[in-house]
């Protein structure tokens, strides 16, 4: 039981961390709460399913097509839909949720509202300390670790990362220092969407694919990001594992009340917010200058 708890927490937390980092990045840089974030996640899952099951393309090629395609779609959505109304956060929320609903309805009318699945990349399981672990779960863990390290390296070591962090701190001054803010924000959106697509690639074989698969992770990602503090990458990762622990223990120890996991996750968020209104590692933004 306890081994299962640990493994499932790590796997679920890893997936949530991938999603939450993207969500947090785009909020920290562009002050955009992208509720369509898990919509892109769903699109990537559907893309994989379509290429593998409908067109019969090899899994690796399917991944190589899907991830860039979804990333480009994310950048286009940012450029043409979100960028113009970026200043009004309520409008952005509305726009992105409308976008997610468009995705949902399109997927539903294209591929019906049935449940689909795709084969795992690696079948079978490995025994670790006497506990059987699915190979796909190990893959998830590996990919999550690698991606988090890559994102961290990009943010802390490269010139692009410095530009990203400068924009997050103060877009106006970053602009004065010669950083092209609009381009930086588009790159951020690209990275965020790519992370969502990667999350979909690793998790699609474990979860089922259907048109409303974007809402449960969206709620969890929202809770995680608010809990960890909007815009804080460290907070998102830690929050992801906390929420995953809550979720997995509810569904393991109270299987008949599995729906309560949302309730407990949101309660955890409310308590943290009452104690610390900025989240655990919240970045309290100064009033934006006009």
């Amino acid at each position: 039981m306890i081994e299962q708890l640990i493994i499932l927490t790590l796997v679920t937390g890893g997936v949530y961390a991938l999603l939450a980092i993207g969500f947090s990045l785009i909020f920290g840089n562009a002050r955009v709460i992208n509720l369509a974030h898990t919509g892109f996640f769903m699109l990537a899952a559907y893309g994989l399913w379509y290429f593998i099951r409908q067109l019969g393309i090899d899994t690796v090629w399917a991944i190589l097509i899907t991830v860039p395609a979804v990333t480009i779609l994310g950048i286009l959505a940012y450029r043409y839909l979100i960028n113009t109304i970026r200043e009004h956060h309520a409008a952005v929320l509305l726009m992105t949720i409308a976008l997610a609903m468009v995705f949902q309805e399109l997927m539903q009318s294209l591929f019906s509202s049935l449940y689909w699945s795709i084969p795992p990349l690696f079948r079978g399981f490995t025994e670790i300390l006497g506990v059987p672990v699915l190979n796909q779960h190990l893959l998830v863990l590996g990919v999550v670790a690698v991606v988090i390290i890559i994102v961290w390296l990009i943010l802390s070591k490269t010139k692009l990362g410095i530009a990203l962090r400068a924009t997050a701190q103060d877009a106006e001054v970053a602009n004065l220092m010669g950083i092209s803010v609009p381009r930086t924000l588009m790159i951020t959106m690209g990275i965020a969407t790519a992370l969502a697509a990667v999350a979909a690639v690793v998790v699609a074989p474990i979860w089922t694919i259907h048109p409303t698969m974007w809402t449960p992770p969206l709620v969890m990602v929202m809770v995680i990001v608010v809990l960890g503090g909007l815009g804080s990458i460290k907070g998102s990762i830690i929050g992801a594992f906390i929420i995953a622990l809550v979720e997995v223990s509810v569904s393991l120890f109270m299987p008949s009340y599995a729906y309560l996991k949302v309730v407990f996750a949101i309660l955890a968020m409310v308590i943290v917010l009452i104690v610390r209104p900025g989240g655990l590692f919240g970045v309290i933004f100064e009033e934006e200058r006009l």
Binding site: I33, L230, L273
Partner: protein, 350 residues
């Protein structure tokens, strides 16, 4: 009295096209059952009336006082579910369930304040968005009592006929919208709330500095919003005869926002126009899900929202109003756009 009414009508209503349209439309709503009493039309218009209350209460809370609430379905759903549960387990009749349901929703509005008052901007929106989802979790977890995704059915109707229901919803809607319109009217001489809500939305710190107890007024906004959304939810449950988790869903919360943004945010008439144009039109074209429009309602609504946000951010009703009305630059009186000079001071309008 009558003479004053006549004078008002003659001098401050008839020359303003927007007001004429509003009055003609309301008169039309009241005599509408004379033209047709097909129960489907009555049902569509009755639900639209209730959604008007729902949308306007969102506009009051989020548009006017600036507490952007993305989970307005919480109040609506709590009220609808308490009506359903009270009726199923205690056998209460509509005259008892509707006030109690509304009161419970108001209470939930007060409860929401505790976390909501501490937060601003995006944090507030995300927090409020998650509350109804929490309740969906509770409903699904206690399937034995709530019926899970199928909800509770067999709630008694408030009136024997669809026409009766239509008139009840219409009267409740008219009264509620009038009350909310007065409460949010910043130019009112008798009620201060409108002005204070505006002040809080524009600059909370400045409002507090000028001696306004902003906390009290924010709670008041949540209470009013919760009360009217709850009223709409309770009546909705009785008119539909069922309660399901769709009344708590994210789509329900976004409906209110979509109608208001479509019509024009921070304007009561915008919300009203939004509901009647979008909801009624989609329902009439949809014919209960048998046509293409009926099956793709959410898709159409989402696309309309995206287009409105991109090309008409002030809202359709406000855009139309700006086309047909013009404010006199000298005396600030509203004139029809086709007049050459102001009707009061004669200033040139072109």
């Amino acid at each position: 009295m009558l003479r004053r009414l006549f004078k008002d009508l003659r001098f401050s209503v008839l020359p303003v096209p927007g007001k004429v349209i509003a009055i003609v439309f309301f008169v039309f709503l009241f005599i509408f059952p004379l033209f047709t009493d097909k129960s489907y039309y009555m049902f569509v218009f009755a639900t639209s009336n209730l959604l008007v209350i729902f949308a306007v209460s969102w506009d009051l809370l989020s548009g006017y006082s600036g507490q952007v609430n993305f989970g307005h379905a919480l109040f609506f759903g709590v009220s609808a579910w308490s009506v359903g549960l009270l009726n199923k387990y205690l056998g209460w009749q509509p005259w008892a369930t509707i006030p109690v349901g509304t009161l419970i929703a108001t209470g939930v509005g007060v409860l929401t304040c505790f976390p909501a008052l501490r937060l601003r901007g995006p944090y507030l929106s995300l927090l409020t968005m998650s509350f109804p989802l929490m309740l969906i979790g509770l409903v699904m977890a206690f399937k034995k009592w709530t019926g899970g995704e199928f909800g509770i059915s067999g709630i008694p109707e408030i009136a024997a006929t669809r026409v009766g229901e239509y008139y009840i919803s219409l009267i409740v809607m008219t009264v509620s919208v009038l009350i909310m319109w007065k409460l949010t009217d910043a130019g009112s001489k008798y009620v201060r709330t409108g002005l204070i809500f505006h002040a809080i939305r524009e600059d909370e710190i400045a409002a507090r500095a000028s001696g306004i107890n902003t906390i009290r007024y924010k709670i008041l906004a949540f209470v009013i919003g919760g009360f009217f959304a709850g009223l709409a939810g309770a009546l909705y449950a009785h008119i539909l005869g069922t309660v399901s988790i769709s009344s708590l869903s994210m789509v329900m919360s976004f409906r209110a926002i979509i109608y208001v943004v479509f019509g024009g945010i921070v304007s009561i008439y915008g919300a009203v126009v939004g509901v009647y144009v979008l909801q009624t039109l989609l329902q009439l074209l949809g014919v209960g899900g048998t046509t293409w429009v009926g099956q793709n309602q959410i898709l159409i609504m989402a696309i309309i929202v995206i287009l409105v946000l991109l090309f008409m951010p002030e809202g359709v009703a406000v855009w139309v109003r700006n086309k047909i009305e013009r404010e006199c630059p000298r005396c600030k009186l509203t004139n029809a756009a086709w007049r050459k000079e102001c009707r009061a001071c004669g200033a040139n309008l072109r």
